[in-house]
């Protein structure tokens, strides 16, 4: 969930009202936001870098507000204020308009060459005319781009935004791709020119930019945008040129978004221009730009598309569980920036989806907005009349019954991880990894999670190792799932519910573990005996001490092993005492 940091006083000034922290928190909650933290730059510096670094830092109160991941229109102060003001009915949602150049001239043009196809094939562009920045507006403009980059742009992989002082460059612009050695320009915040190849090594140590290098690093051609005089605007998605950088005094801004996902690029561009066209001489107007594709097609951006959906008041009422007139539902939706009116035919409502609400894709999204405006907590809570009979999953029912009885038999239940290292299920148990039928994980963050466990035994032995200080004997059990490869399943693996118990003491206590088996079998109503009953039979298993291991058969079918653990197994789990164990499959008893 993205977090937006805004200055409290600036926010209240824009909202035209002062709130206490509690009142503002309440407003956020109602609207689906979360006032996550109240802090200041100084406090953040003190927390992150200590008191000395914070000296002289600003102690202006900051609100950190969590915004839902699909509401890109709330990622800056401007958007938040607009959303809340419309919600509080203090403001009507503005209409965003795409306009032709005021002087009647040609629109700015961005020409895409075919070389971009292999690396970053899409681009969109727009112009903000006669904008007035203040320090705060400028900072918010930069911050919004960063927030969009982190969220909808998926860390610049899908979309990268470049903003330029239009008065320092001249179109038409060319979006092309070139070998890194052939791109050469002075990037932002540097004092000299570098080739693209040099920049990639320069930014290897840049705490911010190094995260984006991988996007194009191994490409033969790097994306680059030039103006008609060969000045580099940007090398997306890494860095802009220094020449066209914007400042507080910039009046006209050329915005380009290059992308691997055209839909996301259009949304990103719409967000930037709808948020900041507020500060243009003619607010909420955006000057169009043309984009020419390699095949000659021409598109005009930003799209700023409004679309209308029609749905019935009855639909909203039924889904939400309220009983409002179509008119009042239309009013609720209007408060969510979805300008709505009753169409006159029955209770049908025409809902206009503005370009800022890319998150609205289905009638259910509109229904949710109506519910938010109505107030989730004003909806009457009612019990569905769905009649059903409860059923337990048989394997869980059996597990629940056995757990109780194992604890009653003096064994304590352990809860261990289902993921473990290869070593845990193979080397430490004196088994070969290939014979374990283990499912392997391709991308574990730590070596502790390389495979799904094929046995509950390693987890129990690790639990004993962690509790060596407890008085002997230690008696533990776990009834849980292991995972085994199984080609007959659609995912190639299946869970297997197993029961494992260990007895750890100065003497191995085979008879204790054997007695536990007898008790479990008694509970499962299987009597001792060779054919219809259960019996154990001497067996060889590398995990167990030779001559001290038996295989367990129930109704003629092998269900597991019990025995005294091999001394090497004991030492590999950093244990020192003899230990006996039982490990059985309980699924045959379902």
């Amino acid at each position: 969930m993205p977090t937006v940091s805004v200055k409290r006083d600036l926010l209240f000034e824009a909202l035209g009202q002062k709130y206490t922290d509690e009142e503002f928190d309440e407003l956020c909650f109602e609207f689906g936001l979360e006032l996550d933290e109240i802090t200041s730059e100084k406090e953040i510096l003190i927390r992150e870098q200590g008191g000395e670094k914070a000296e002289g830092a600003s102690d202006v109160v900051l609100y950190k507000i969590d915004v839902p991941a699909n509401r890109y229109d709330l990622l800056c102060l401007e958007g938040l204020v607009r959303g809340l003001q419309v919600f509080k009915e203090k403001l009507e949602a503005p209409r965003y308009k795409r306009v032709s150049p005021a002087d009647g001239g040609e629109p700015q043009r961005l020409v895409i060459t075919e070389e971009t196809a292999s690396v970053r094939p899409h681009a969109v562009a727009a112009v903000l005319r006669n904008i007035t920045f203040t320090q705060e507006r400028y900072e918010s403009f930069i911050e919004l781009q960063e927030k969009l980059h982190q969220n909808i742009c998926r860390k610049r992989t899908l979309v990268a935004i470049g903003t330029h002082d239009l008065d320092t460059i001249s179109g038409p612009f060319t979006y092309t791709a070139k070998p890194p050695g052939e791109i050469r320009f002075k990037p932002l915040s540097q004092s000299r020119e570098y080739t693209a190849a040099e920049l990639m090594s320069l930014y290897k140590t840049d705490s911010h930019l190094r995260h984006y290098l991988h996007i194009i690093e191994n490409e033969p051609l790097y994306p680059v945008i030039y103006d008609s005089n060969g000045i580099v605007l940007s090398m997306p998605p890494i860095i802009n040129g220094d020449h066209s950088k914007i400042s507080l005094n910039t009046k006209n801004i050329f915005i380009e978004c290059t992308a691997t996902d055209l839909t996301k690029a259009k949304i990103t561009l719409d967000m930037v221009v709808t948020m900041f066209s507020e500060y243009c001489d003619e607010p909420f107007t955006v000057e169009e730009a043309e984009v020419v594709y390699p095949d000659g097609r021409l598109s005009v951006y930003p799209e700023l598309a409004y679309r209308t959906e029609t749905l019935s008041g009855d639909f909203i009422n039924k889904r939400v569980g309220i009983n409002e007139s179509a008119e009042s539902i239309a009013q609720l939706l209007t408060r969510m920036c979805l300008r709505s009116e009753v169409s006159g035919e029955g209770d049908l409502i025409q809902v206009e989806i503005p370009p800022t609400r890319a998150d609205v894709i289905h009638a259910c999204d509109i229904m949710e907005d109506a519910a938010i405006a109505y107030g989730f907590n004003n909806i009457v809570r009612s019990t569905p009349r769905t009649y059903t009979v409860a059923n337990q999953l048989p394997v869980n029912k059996l597990t629940e019954l056995l757990r109780q009885d194992l604890a009653a038999a003096g064994f304590t239940e352990a809860l261990t991880f289902a993921l473990c290292s290869e070593e845990d299920i193979a080397d430490k148990l004196r088994k070969n990894i290939t014979e374990t039928r283990a499912v392997h994980i391709s991308n574990p963050k730590t070596a502790d999670f390389q495979v799904a466990r094929t046995s509950l035994l390693p987890g129990l032995l690790k639990t004993i190792a962690a509790n060596r200080k407890m008085p002997l004997p230690l008696k533990l059990f776990e009834i849980s799932d292991v995972v085994l490869k199984d080609e007959t399943k659609d995912v190639g693996a299946r869970n297997n519910r197993r029961l494992c118990a260990v007895y750890y003491n100065k003497s191995p206590g085979f008879e204790v573990i054997h007695g536990l088996l007898d008790r479990v079998m008694q509970l499962l109503d299987v009597k001792p005996g060779r054919n219809q009953g259960y019996h154990i039979q001497a067996a060889e298993d590398s995990t167990f001490f030779p001559g001290r291991c038996a295989e367990i058969f129930s109704c003629g079918k092998s269900i597991g092993h019990l025995g005294v653990l091999h001394p090497d197994v004991i030492s590999r789990f950093e244990l020192t005492m003899p230990c006996s164990a039982i490990d059985i499959d309980i699924e045959p008893f379902l």
């Binding site: 689906g32 309220i322 519910a371 009979v389 629940e400 604890a407 289902a418 963050k445 995912v491």
Partner: protein, 449 residues
């Protein structure tokens, strides 16, 4: 029982205690019975163990005692007196006097007491004469007083002087002040520690006295196993769902395909949860197969035109394959996995609790109503709902409950109505809504049971 204290001695002690009204000191008892004080101390302890026969309060007292030399003097007289008595009227040569055992000390003391004089110029060598007719051996008298236990008659100054001469020493004695107990008796009955089968059979328990229990002590820990606290909470949650008529879903397939885990949940291809760093991907076996082909096509269509792992997708698909739709309520509590580095607040696997209801015409109000019932069974009654975003539900609501301890609202779960894009491709009839909620089992361990 104390080895030194036989019943005869114990009863002698009790008879002595009976005679005195306000009680007696164990030292006096020892003196009266003519036994060592330590033996009486043992007897007191044995009597105490019998219950309320006597009550004994420990006290300590300081008293004076003769040293070895002091006892010799009390018996034979002081060195100076012995010297004086050895001198005949005609005197004694000094060298002969000095050969006496008490010679050296006795001579200088007798000299300073002016009992004797030394004639150095006597013919035949220095000779010692008495200067007085008779003497009073006060040192011996004083020591005899102490020996008789009458040291109180001496002044402190005198006692300290004798102490300086190493004839007296002051010792601390721990003794008991013994008085009658609430069940005082001069005869001893042996107390039994425990009731035995023989006593029950013979009825002898009626005559026996039983040693009292110490009710201050802790009991012996029961010899039993324990269920894991988290699993106990899991049992409670299962119980709640079963009480509410929910059927348990088969979630015992930890390995799930991306198709069921993401695609069927309408999780966009670019959603962060699909990224390498959130999800564990399997290298062996790497590929799933046998998807329901026509459903796969429909899901593909939704994505091209158009999390976090809900367990419900497979079950809802199965539900949709019925000839006639029947409403269901499902739940599951099982492990889910997340590719995280472990620390105090992050686990790579945890237990997720999910509830799902599918029926015609379910409303958002129904979801809140059922959540209210569910949480009420947990003892949480103050709930409120915050609009939220989940990729596979719309509307989505975070569930907050008021925490009386923290005095604030805390998030306890997430919920929502499944998106139609997810339900329709499965083949669920239009008009069927699916409401669902989820919470983590781990966060309830501290607060319940």
């Amino acid at each position: 029982m104390h080895p030194m204290a036989d019943n005869g001695l114990l009863e002698s002690v009790l008879r002595l205690v009976e005679k005195v009204d306000g009680g007696t000191d164990s030292q006096d008892v020892a003196a009266d019975l003519g036994v060592d004080h330590q033996v009486i101390v043992g007897a007191v302890k044995s009597l105490q163990a019998l219950g309320e026969v006597i009550s004994a309060e420990q006290k300590s007292s300081r008293h004076w005692e003769l040293t070895g030399e002091g006892r010799e003097i009390a018996e034979q007289g002081s060195h100076e007196a012995r010297v004086f008595n050895a001198i005949p009227d005609e005197g004694l040569p000094q060298n002969q006097l000095m050969k006496m055992p008490s010679g050296k000390v006795g001579f200088s003391k007798a000299m300073s007491n002016k009992w004797i004089r030394l004639d150095k110029a006597h013919e035949g060598g220095p000779r010692v004469f008495k200067t007085v007719e008779a003497i009073e051996d006060t040192v011996r008298d004083k020591l005899q007083l102490v020996q008789k236990g009458q040291s109180a008659k001496l002044e402190d100054k005198e006692k300290n002087e004798l102490k300086k001469r190493k004839l007296l020493s002051e010792v601390t004695v721990k003794s008991y002040w013994i008085t009658k107990g609430s069940s005082f008796s001069t005869t001893i009955t042996k107390q039994e520690t425990e009731l035995t089968p023989e006593m029950i059979a013979s009825g002898s328990w009626k005559e026996k006295k039983f040693k009292p229990y110490n009710f201050e002590a802790m009991g012996v820990a029961p010899d039993c196993g324990h269920l894991h606290p988290l699993m106990k909470v899991r049992t409670q949650f299962r119980q709640i769902f079963l009480e509410m008529g929910f059927t348990e879903m088969p979630t015992n397939n930890f390995i799930e395909s991306s198709f069921w885990n993401f695609d069927s949940l309408f999780q966009p291809q670019q959603h962060p949860a699909r990224d390498q760093h959130d999800t564990f991907f399997i290298s062996d076996p790497a590929l799933a197969h046998e998807f329901p082909q026509d459903y796969l096509e429909r899901v593909k269509k939704v994505h091209s035109e158009g999390g976090y792992g809900s367990q419900g997708a497979r079950m809802l698909y199965k539900l949709a394959q019925q000839e006639k739709f029947t409403p269901v309520k499902y739940f599951s509590i099982d492990r889910v996995f997340r590719n995280e580095t472990l620390d105090a607040t992050h686990l790579a696997e945890f237990h997720q609790i999910e509830g799902v209801v599918a029926d015609y015409g379910l409303t958002l109000g129904n979801l809140m109503g059922i959540l209210h019932q569910f949480f009420t069974k947990l003892g949480i009654t103050k709930l409120r709902f915050k609009p939220a975003y989940n990729p596979y539900t719309e509307p989505s609501m975070e569930v907050f409950s008021y925490h009386e301890g923290l005095k604030k609202w805390v998030e306890v779960g997430n919920s929502g109505v499944f998106r139609p894009e997810m339900l329709l491709p499965m083949g669920l009839p239009e008009g069927v809504s699916v409401i669902a909620w989820g919470l983590s089992l781990e966060r309830y361990v501290d607060t319940h049971i």
